[in-house]
Amino acid sequence: MDIHNYEKLWLVLAMVMIVGFISTTTYGATALGIEMISDDEETIDPNALDEDPRFSEPRVEQVGENEYEAYVVARQFVFEPDPITVPANSTVTFYITSADVIHGFEVVGTNANTMVIPGEVATLTVEPNEPGEYGILCNEYCGGGHHVMEGKLVVEPEAEFDRGEADE
């Protein structure tokens, strides 16, 4: 087969670019430790969430010195709990599941983003540093009221968060 020299050069450059893309993505996934949504959790019956110790009462729970777990339920057309309040300078692992259809869970302006599929539990870990408020929105069509489905992530200064805990 007759291939023009320029075309051979183009072919080589294209392959170099492709391998480059794969390398940078791999670097991001391994060396930088950007975690991916995976299949860590067992499946769950979306009709029996009220029997599940994590999701019967959606909440934030302290599990280590500076570690928290947030159990979040997405349902037409709310997130529970709302707001989700966590302390600054901590590590928070979200466990998110759906009580009905497929939803999305997107912390606006960040890469904390996952699909929420009934029957599956999505896990993602974030390390909020600065106190502040972030919007949460559903980014997968979930029915006629999809556009009103929103929530809030409140990152409180540590002292304030501890006071709030003590009050309860």
Partner: protein, 590 residues
């Protein structure tokens, strides 16, 4: 190939009047879908930017479903079957084997799409259980009326029979021409259809195996992750099903319009074979953010996806080289001066070139989508529709419209009603899409979601780095309006062309490539081999992920109900019939 056609003595319709009729019918089905889809398109672009809200926001999703299905199922695939019928008949220079069979598959496709569209439009009527507000992706447990799934199934069967028609033509031709290479256009059609058959496995299992019986109430629940994964098994290769007819036009028609000929026939074949091999084992890249699929499978899908860039990069080279060759044949000189020698006043040429230019931009935003980690920032944001309005919405759609300006006279023996309107139309499309798609990409980076009627929230606001959300909204709405005007100009121009007088001498021949088929290694034409390899690759890519999903959640899922619950009334009418027939059968056995 026909001497008469090649010499330009007679048009396609002169030689194949019966086939021309089928091709015209398919193209009209395509253009009507485009026009209706565009009406829903402009309603959306004005609604979500809050410029004009004619419908209630809950109805936005009915409109969005109709826009998606009409554009990417009816418009694109009806055009494909028309174009492929033309390409096979023309390049083999023989009529279809049985024209009644050809009309049969066309009829099935029409029936199927009417069923689906009726089910979708039923969403506007509250008094009926008819509804399919499930969007183009119909993710369970959102549930559509059975008419929707049934329509999809019948439409798919129509496309399979169409493929069989073209294989049959090729087989008959091969008996008469045992030693010849498969003509390039027929080769492209056959390889594309092999890809389609493999891709269809996923959606057939999802629709016929799960969703249709579920919507009829025969099974109570499905596994949402499984049906979703089966959807994307088909949902990525379908992207190439839209794109391959555009590639066929870029390879075989564009060089001719530019005044030259294709640079390399063998490399065109290589590109199509690469698409057959690589376009299916990548669907999981649409599911990077899905819980329940191991990150390792996502990583494999990512690497496969990156290699899928190769055939498109090769195409960019070949198309530009062929156009440059054409320009130099027309007297163009200089490093870039040859660009001036091209036929920019021809809407067919300018449209296809602008489509190719936007495809380059769409290719780059696609590479970003494919990047596993950066995808977290843009997944399900407005960035994604921004991307695919450049690819299917321009590279494909604008190429189809532009090519129609060249093809239509040869199917009708009538001149185009107006070439200047045609030229304005393709330029308007480019301008409108540049505005709309740019606004979508920027808004997506800010986190503005796709698929929503009102991207305005109570508890927070999106914060642009520069400019404002209001400016982006205006850009999107103006772009969407220009695109709507452009669509109308196209459809009206083609419709008015049937009023121009019949003339002769409109034929336009397609010259063979500079480096012809005989330079290609024989193995390239061994389509059985490529089909086999493609099939093995799909088995390798999907067996483990699917097995894992089923073993985790069960074939029919870990539980959960259907939404909306329209299965209830249907089930209540169906159950008595079923129980009666079961009793009757029981009586027979006893």
């Amino acid at each position: 190939m026909s001497d008469a056609l090649e010499a330009g003595a007679s048009t396609f319709v002169d030689q194949f009047p019966a086939e021309s009729k089928v091709v015209r019918a398919a193209l009209w089905s395509s253009f009507l879908s485009l026009a209706l889809g565009a009406v829903f398109g402009i309603i959306q672009s004005l609604h979500r930017t809050d410029v004009l809200r004619v419908f209630e926001s809950a109805d936005y999703y009915t409109i969005l479903t109709a826009h998606g299905v009409l554009m990417v199922v009816s418009f694109t695939i009806f055009f494909l079957v028309g174009l492929f019928t033309w390409a096979v008949v023309r390049s083999l220079d023989r009529p279809v084997e049985n024209i009644r069979y050809t009309w049969t598959w066309y009829g099935l496709m029409v029936t199927g799409s009417l069923m689906a569209v009726i089910a979708i439009l039923g969403g506007f009527v509250d008094s009926t259980s008819l509804s399919a507000d499930v969007l183009f992706t119909f993710y369970a447990p959102l549930q559509a009326h059975p008419l929707f799934y049934g329509g999809l199934a019948i439409f798919l069967i129509g496309t399979w029979l169409a493929g069989a028609d073209w294989f049959r033509s090729w087989w008959a031709w091969k008996q008469d021409n045992p030693d010849e290479r498969i003509p390039l256009q027929t080769f492209m059609v056959l390889v594309t259809m092999l890809m389609w058959y493999i891709a269809s496995i996923g959606i057939t299992i999802a629709v016929v195996g799960f969703l249709l019986p579920w919507s009829l109430g025969l099974i109570d629940q499905v596994n949402p992750l499984l049906t979703r994964t089966l959807f994307w098994f088909w949902g990525h290769p379908v992207v190439y099903f839209w794109l391959m007819p555009a590639y066929l036009l870029w390879y075989t028609v564009l060089p001719k319009i530019a005044g030259g000929r294709l640079f390399s026939d063998p490399l065109a074949r290589v590109v199509f074979v690469l698409f057959l091999l690589l376009s299916t084992p990548v669907g999981i890249h649409h599911q990077y953010l899905d819980p329940g699929i191991a990150d390792g499978f996502k990583f494999i899908a990512m690497t496969n996806t990156m290699f899928l860039l190769l055939p498109s990069l090769l195409t960019a080279f070949t198309v530009v080289a062929s156009v440059e060759h054409g320009a130099r044949q027309r007297g163009g000189t200089g490093l870039f001066g040859w660009l001036r020698a091209l036929p920019w006043r021809d809407p067919a040429f300018t449209g296809m070139m602008l489509a190719g230019l936007m495809f380059a931009a769409g290719g780059f935003s696609g590479m970003i989508n494919a990047g596993l980690n950066i995808n977290y920032l843009v997944h399900n944001t407005l960035w994604v529709p921004g991307h695919f309005h450049l690819t299917v919405g321009t590279a494909v759609a604008l190429t189809f419209m532009a090519a129609t300006y060249w093809l239509w006279p040869q199917l009708t023996n009538r001149r185009l009603y107006s070439r200047p309107i045609g030229l304005a139309q393709v330029v308007l499309w480019f301008v409108g899409m540049a505005l709309m798609s740019n606004a979508m990409h920027v808004a997506g980076l800010l986190g503005v979601p796709r698929r929503t009627a009102e991207p305005q929230y109570e508890g927070f606001a999106f914060e642009p780095m520069f400019g404002s959300i209001a400016e982006l909204d205006i850009q999107l709405a103006v772009g969407g309006t220009i695109l709507f005007v452009s669509t109308l100009l196209f459809v009206v121009n083609i419709a008015l062309s049937s009023g121009t007088p019949r003339v002769s001498g409109l034929s336009s021949s397609l010259p063979p490539a500079l480096s012809g088929p005989n330079d290609a290694p024989q193995v390239l034409d061994n389509i059985k081999l490529w089909f086999g390899i493609a099939f093995v690759l799909v088995i390798l890519a999907y067996t483990l992920p699917l097995a894992s999903i089923v073993s985790r959640g069960g074939l029919l899922g870990p539980g959960g109900d259907a939404f909306p619950m329209i299965a209830a009334p249907i089930k209540s009418t169906l159950t008595p019939i079923l129980s009666v027939s079961v009793e009757w059968l029981g009586g027979l056995v006893a």
